[in-house]
Symmetry: C2
Subunit: 391 residues, 2 copies
């Protein structure tokens, strides 16, 4: 039942071990759900309790440590042997007097890691400060070393099998955008438009079933479009206002994202002007997103276009995207921005998101693309780039 | 635009301050999205970057600290004055060389908290080990004290305005269960059933718009029903198998949850027997869930019924529910289980979830209820308790 071949998991583990070795750690303790999925296939909505993966340089396969009732899910979704599953008892859940990180620390001691150099991902989601404090207390002779985000940097270059998942995700989000653009209209409640969009995301297509995106649709309009991360409400869309849809598509935990703007009425000239420049900036940035180039260079191409037209943008224009769990579909590694010297490699994927948020309105245009071995990137998402105008 | 009156926020802040005082802290630093929403109204899908709330005993209102581009959302959703919004620059996002926790530490020093007793919620979601390390480094003269989950213990008793939100959430999940039971049938893909359910969750009702639940529908069948937290796939439901739906409903970030089991075909006798006993156990446990009773006592009433029938269950049978953000709708305070001596008070709300997971199948029955001032609890969710049988 794991989504990839055992061979692919072995290859991922080998690449992570090489990075561990380079970082000077003997054993890695992961808590990020995406890294658990990546290294052993584990997939469940169980990350609201503590769960871990332990991988030592001398271990053939990692050790899954999770809640007793989730061991059944680990048996069904991972490629691991039963001996590699180490559940902790139910009375560790939300308990004031015991903590799962203490359980994993004792386990590591019992397996000979009590004096090891242990790599931890200190800024990973769901690796809490309490987990760190418990490990430090229970492993006084170990060296705890922050290697965040070690596994994410391995994940950034996708295999061909992963790219196939990305294409599925892109097909889904492209379809969801069609549905969303049809649903948004004056008088419609935001929540009702989102309901249509989410249904499309989860139905997926005939070839690709819809998995849950790690972030929700962003569908603000009017004044609320100035705030990029507001979620919806029961408010109704109004005539003569701008709106945008920023959506994700997900297949087997792999993501593509897509944003488009629409205007309900006759768009004002300043919006048309901005839309034209942003579209030119997108073209120019995509032209430079070639293997061997840098994240910095891609952003610089965008910046040159918009500065010439008198615009500015302080935030990054994109980030590595792929395998993810809530709350984010970004990988927290490379960002398309000034100063990021990450060199683009084939099968890296990015969400290039050109968000222009003003005092009381906003505009977005985005694509998800794959860096190819030579030449321009493969744009995975498919939807016309022109601003949609609905009367 | 905040969901509650300024008066209600002031009351919440006063209650949190009383707990801070009792815990011996001068200032509290929160990172949990639900606690931000609770104390100032902030609501956005922005918790994939670091964000904080700072509340000192001597401060009239808390300080919101978040990403520059999210300040627009803070202006739109909180009751705070502009002077209480402290955004950090965009180049703190996913940056290897700077961290938002360092930003908040410098801010706290500048505001005179450099030698304070600072309360932190060390096991809160999204409060990472890295955040803690940065604070410890930047505030060497402060005392950092773990007070987790301080705000959650204030949240556990709801106001009447919050109970109204809970009733809305319950109406939504009850409706979503109807839709889900109609959608599941032999030959249907799991993802297609979930698409219908999510659409119902987000449409909501005429009176209550649908907000996003903090956890996704759980809809396993057959062998997968043995694993409580698997998510769906493109697999098709099959005849002669058991399935259950565990769903959430959400209105303005308040949650109700509901689980029911169905059988596609003629249910076997052992399943009918279990269903009858679990239903009796639910009745008995609800009978004891009265103000003045304890969480322990409620579980004991359940346990007596199922043990008499020869069953056992090692995991808790419920938890406090209410205001929440992903990944969980539980509040991580009181649990309905052996040894939890929390005394039930009026307007506490619980999700009582009776999950019986066997070697290769599972069964669930649940209700969300409110403790009333006297007598039996108010069951907020509404759906027939009998197992659904579909041919």
């Amino acid at each position: 039942m794991p989504a990839f071949s055992a061979l692919e998991y072995r290859d991922r583990i080998a690449r992570v071990k090489r990075r561990m070795d380079a970082a000077g750690v003997d054993v890695l303790l992961c808590a990020e759900p995406a890294s658990l999925y990546y290294l052993c296939g584990y997939d469940g909505w169980s990350f609201y309790v503590h769960q871990f993966l332990v991988l030592g340089l001398t271990m053939d396969e990692p050790l899954w440590v999770g809640r007793e009732m989730d061991a059944a899910g680990a048996r069904l979704t991972t490629f691991l042997q039963p001996v590699s599953l180490e559940p902790y008892p139910e009375d560790y859940v939300d308990a004031p007097d015991r903590h799962p990180a203490r359980f994993v620390a004792e386990l590591m001691k019992a397996r000979g890691h009590g004096r090891a150099r242990i790599g931890l991902e200190l800024d990973a989601f769901y690796f809490t400060a309490r987990s760190y404090a418990e490990l430090a207390k229970a492993l006084p002779d170990a060296r705890l070393i922050d290697v965040f985000p070690l596994v994410n940097w391995v994940r950034i270059v996708k295999s061909d099998a992963e790219i196939e998942m990305m294409r599925g995700a892109a097909a889904i989000v492209s379809r969801a955008m069609e549905v969303g653009m049809a649903a948004v209209a004056p008088g419609v409640r935001e929540c009702d438009a989102v309901a249509e969009i989410c249904a499309a995301q989860l139905h997926g297509t005939g070839s690709y079933w819809g998995d849950y995106p790690s972030a929700l649709p962003s569908v603000p309009s009017g004044r609320k479009s100035a705030a990029p991360h507001l979620t919806w409400s029961g408010d109704r869309y109004r005539s003569d206002s701008v709106a945008y849809l920023e959506l994700g598509g997900c297949h087997q935990r792999y993501h593509a994202a897509l944003a488009r703007t629409l205007y309900l009425g006759k768009p004002p000239q300043h919006l048309l002007d901005l839309a034209r420049v942003v579209s030119e900036g997108l073209d120019s940035a995509l032209d430079t997103a070639c293997a061997g180039g840098t994240c910095h260079g891609v952003e610089a191409a965008w910046r040159a276009v918009i500065e010439r037209a008198g615009y500015a943008k302080s935030s990054r224009i994109g980030y590595s995207i792929g395998l993810a769990y809530p709350p984010d579909w970004g990988e927290r590694t490379a960002s398309l921005r000034q100063g990021d010297r990450t060199v683009l490699e084939p099968n890296m994927c990015f969400h290039m998101i050109l968000g222009m948020w003003r005092e009381d309105w906003g505009f977005e245009l985005s694509e998800t693309f794959r860096v190819t071995p030579a030449g321009r990137p493969e744009v995975l998402t498919h939807f016309p780039r022109e601003m949609v105008v609905k009367a």
